[in-house]
């Protein structure tokens, strides 16, 4: 869903700035297209990179780039965000439009979905308006064939005046022909005469009034006809927006604006709206006409199977239960399946730790260095890797599978109403689901929400759903204090604990989203459109590679980055002696009065603070402090853990408040780092830290005081 470019490493760069970089001598090829046309799969097939693809709109927000060689020529391929048009104002459309206008691509490949050609042609026509150096790639030809849709490609090529190539990016069919066409267009040897879309007489007249002065001012830096059209349907703000790229001096800007406003025929908001309608309608109409002349459907009801499946998966009766069941299965497999590999990994790390420690001491290292490096840094690293890696390696591929099948947009469809009531976006349901796997991944996935306000809400509230790392704390505490340890009730009780945590996480997400949008993120929900793409057969091999590379290793990498220094800090805190007590004991002592108010104790609160790098190490740190072992330790059995906790004054209230605080406290360092990278704002990162923490403090305080006042304990 979201973890894309950063993780795939070599040869890839990202960000708006990256769009300006090129390899000298390379021909630059932009890849444009509607969301969900297999654009990214095509990008991967051409460049051999594994950029993440998903069967639903809105993933590539920044342009990924890769290279390929063909007939001795180097090509730099830029994957533009998927958009329906280049006219509206979303960040994705701006990135795509700006690159086509100012990135000086030698060719633009417009990727179209063969099963939905007409709508895709709208974008193709808009690109043609900017540049004639276009290759139309009609992708997903196999799907079209299966749905008995046939497309007359030569005729399409004639209509548009550009080369048209039919492809199946999934099995690399047609790629050679595509490369050939791109080479032809990019090297300027195309025999075609590209179509220039024409409009109604009034529009054409208006364009001819504006175009000469534009051409004079811009001196051929960009297609003046296109600028004239945009001035008509977007008005002066368009010029303002493009001032930097167009290298417009203020006097030029004033002159053009004056030219526009001179004539009441051209300007004014009402007139602008009329132009917008006329221009958009003409293009849609042209796309419809071309579509009609080249597409033939043998079978009108070609979407029959999809609709039947939709009726089941989104039905009033079964839609939501089926969704919960699916999610439940995913969790169950993750938790059950991760146990064994986690233990094996932990054993491996323990073995390595002993060897490493022995070697270090044998080399004459002092005890404190051994402590910091081996018992601190290495043990924490090993811990984080062995508890995080297996669940993620299981959860992410399963999630990606659901994504590839096309099920996830249906989840957003099912749940949108709840999010609407919270003044948020239905796609937040998906970022939330992703958050169950890992909040950092959940935060990145918020890129799929295209309006900034709703995206920020999703980012700030993602932490309210418990990630994989928090389930073990919740499960063990629930088992110990709610059902009295292991026994026949263990499995159902664990399941109930997880379910309870999930439900309360979802409710908190909705409540906090609503609060945020009524306070610091005020505003009406922006317009909502959600495409429900056709169900597709997933490519299992690709899923495994992608989810492991893109998500698992990426998140793990960030976790390791923050865990290593934290390991040193934890060890130091536990071992620096300050007048007879360790730093950790002192800290816990200071926190004790406050922690007591929250139903916790100083050590638990201290463990949450020191456990900032990863929720998985909170309990080990608490145990370390209770046992005063000086290094993180794991209890052998649940019963041992129970005895240890009870010995240190735990009651069911302590457990309950710890569970509440687990669900509602600051995001882990990996997530915070990710929030900062996504929002580029310290303010929002701080907000993301404070909102759940404040919620947790209020909740725990209320519960603890109420229970004590009522004398329940």
């Amino acid at each position: 869903m979201g973890l894309t470019r950063q993780s795939t490493g070599a040869g890839l760069s990202q960000g708006k700035g990256a769009l300006d970089k090129t390899v000298p001598g390379d021909l630059i090829v932009a890849l444009a297209g509607n969301p969900n046309t297999g654009k990214t799969t095509l990008f991967n097939s051409l460049t051999g990179l594994n950029q993440h693809t998903g069967n639903w709109p809105g993933k590539t927000v920044t342009g990924a780039r890769g290279r390929y060689r063909y007939r001795g020529c180097g090509f730099t391929l830029v994957d533009l965000p998927g958009t329906y048009s280049l006219l509206a104002n979303s960040p994705e459309e701006e990135v795509a439009r700006d690159f086509i206008c100012f990135g000086h691509p030698d060719a633009v490949v417009v990727v179209a979905d063969a099963t939905c050609l007409e709508r895709n042609l709208n974008l193709a026509l808009q690109v043609l308006e900017i540049t004639g150096r276009v290759v139309l790639c009609v992708n997903l030809m196999d799907e079209a064939e299966r749905k008995r849709i046939s497309i007359d490609l030569p005729r399409l090529s004639e209509c548009l005046g550009v080369p048209v190539v039919g492809t199946n990016a999934r099995d690399s069919h047609g790629l050679e022909a595509l490369k050939e066409a791109v080479l032809m267009v990019a090297s300027g040897r195309s025999p075609f005469r590209p179509l220039v879309p024409r409009y109604s007489a009034p529009v054409e007249r208006a364009v001819s009034l504006l175009e000469p002065s534009i051409r004079e001012t811009l001196k051929g830096r960009i297609n003046s006809r296109w600028v004239a059209l945009r001035l008509l349907d977007q008005g002066p703000p368009f010029l303002e927006q493009m001032r930097r790229q167009l290298e417009l001096e203020p006097p030029d800007l004033a002159a053009l604006t004056a030219r526009l406003e001179q004539s009441p025929l051209l300007a004014g908001s009402q007139q602008q709206s009329i132009w917008m309608d006329e221009i958009a309608s003409s293009l849609v109409g042209a796309a419809e006409a071309i579509g009609r002349s080249v597409v033939s459907l043998e079978h009108r009801e070609y979407q029959h199977f999809d609709r039947k499946l939709d009726r089941l998966l989104t039905s009033r009766l079964f839609g939501i239960p089926l969704m919960i069941a699916l999610l439940g299965i995913v969790f169950w497999i993750t938790i059950a399946g991760a146990n064994y590999p986690s233990e094996a990994l932990a054993a491996g790390f323990f073995w390595a730790e002993e060897r490493l420690g022995a070697a270090l001491l044998a080399a004459g290292a002092p005890a404190w260095l051994h402590g910091i490096l081996v018992l601190g840094v290495f043990r924490t690293l090993g811990w984080v890797v062995s508890v995080m890696l297996p669940p993620m390696a299981i959860f992410f591929p399963m999630f990606t599978l659901l994504e590839d099948l096309g099920y996830l947009p249906r989840v957003a469809f099912n749940l949108d109403n709840f999010f609407k009531k919270a003044c948020a976006h239905g796609k937040q349901a998906l970022t939330m689901c992703m958050g169950f796997g890992c909040n950092a991944a959940g935060v990145i996935s918020c890129r799929i929400i295209d309006s900034p306000r709703e995206r920020l809400i999703a980012v700030l509230t993602n932490n309210f759903v418990p990630c994989n790392g928090r389930f073990p704390i919740l499960i063990s505490l629930a088992l110990i204090f709610m059902v009295g340890g292991a026994g026949p009730l263990q499995t159902p009780a664990a399941a109930a604990a997880v379910l309870g945590a999930v439900v309360s996480g979802v409710l908190m997400t909705l409540a906090v989203s609503r609060c945020l949008s009524k306070t610091i993120l005020k505003g009406l929900p922006s317009s909502f459109t959600l495409e429900l793409p056709p169900y597709r057969k997933p490519l299992v091999g690709q899923i495994l590679i992608r989810s492991l590379l893109d998500r698992t290793l990426f998140v793990l990498g960030r976790a390791v980055l923050v865990a290593a220094p934290a390991g040193a800090v934890i060890w130091l805190a536990a071992n620096i002696d300050l007048g007879g007590a360790s730093l950790l004991d002192r800290g816990a002592g200071i926190l004790q009065p406050f922690a007591y108010l929250l139903g916790l104790d100083g050590y638990i609160l201290m463990a949450f603070l020191l456990g900032l790098p990863a929720n998985e190490i909170v309990i080990p740190i608490a145990i370390m402090s209770y046992m005063a072992t000086g290094a993180m330790t794991e209890p052998a059995t649940l019963e041992e853990l129970r005895l240890l906790l009870v010995e240190h004054g735990w009651t069911w209230l302590t457990a309950l408040c710890t569970m509440l605080f687990t669900l509602n406290h600051f995001p882990c360092a990996t997530t915070l780092l990710t929030i900062y990278k996504e929002t580029r704002s310290l303010k929002w990162t701080l907000t993301a830290f404070l909102v759940p923490t404040a919620t947790g403090i209020v909740l725990c305080f209320t519960v603890a005081q109420a229970v004590r006042l009522l004398g329940l304990i």
Binding site: V284, F413, D416, E531
Partner: protein, 80 residues
């Protein structure tokens, strides 16, 4: 021919309508135009989500879900 215009949100699933008027402005209007919702476009109501809103429509071969806020501002003529 002169059938009354009704909001798209009131068209029941299974029915089709022809777009006659968009009462949206600004970016929302542009979004709808980009989806191909121009005058005379035929829209088929496919299904409602479990809570009754949003609703999925077939628009020019694609399946697009719209909330009632938007759909109520798209006036259509019901087709047989």
């Amino acid at each position: 021919m002169a059938q009354p215009l009704i909001p798209l949100s009131e068209l029941p699933p299974g029915r089709r309508g022809a777009v006659r008027e968009l009462k949206l402005q600004g970016i929302s209007r542009r979004r709808m135009l980009d989806l191909g919702l121009i005058a005379d476009t035929c829209v088929e109501v496919l299904l409602k989500s479990p809570a009754g809103d949003p609703t999925a429509y077939r628009i020019r071969g694609a399946v697009i879900a719209l909330r009632s806020e938007e759909a109520s501002k798209i006036l259509v003529e019901s087709l047989a």
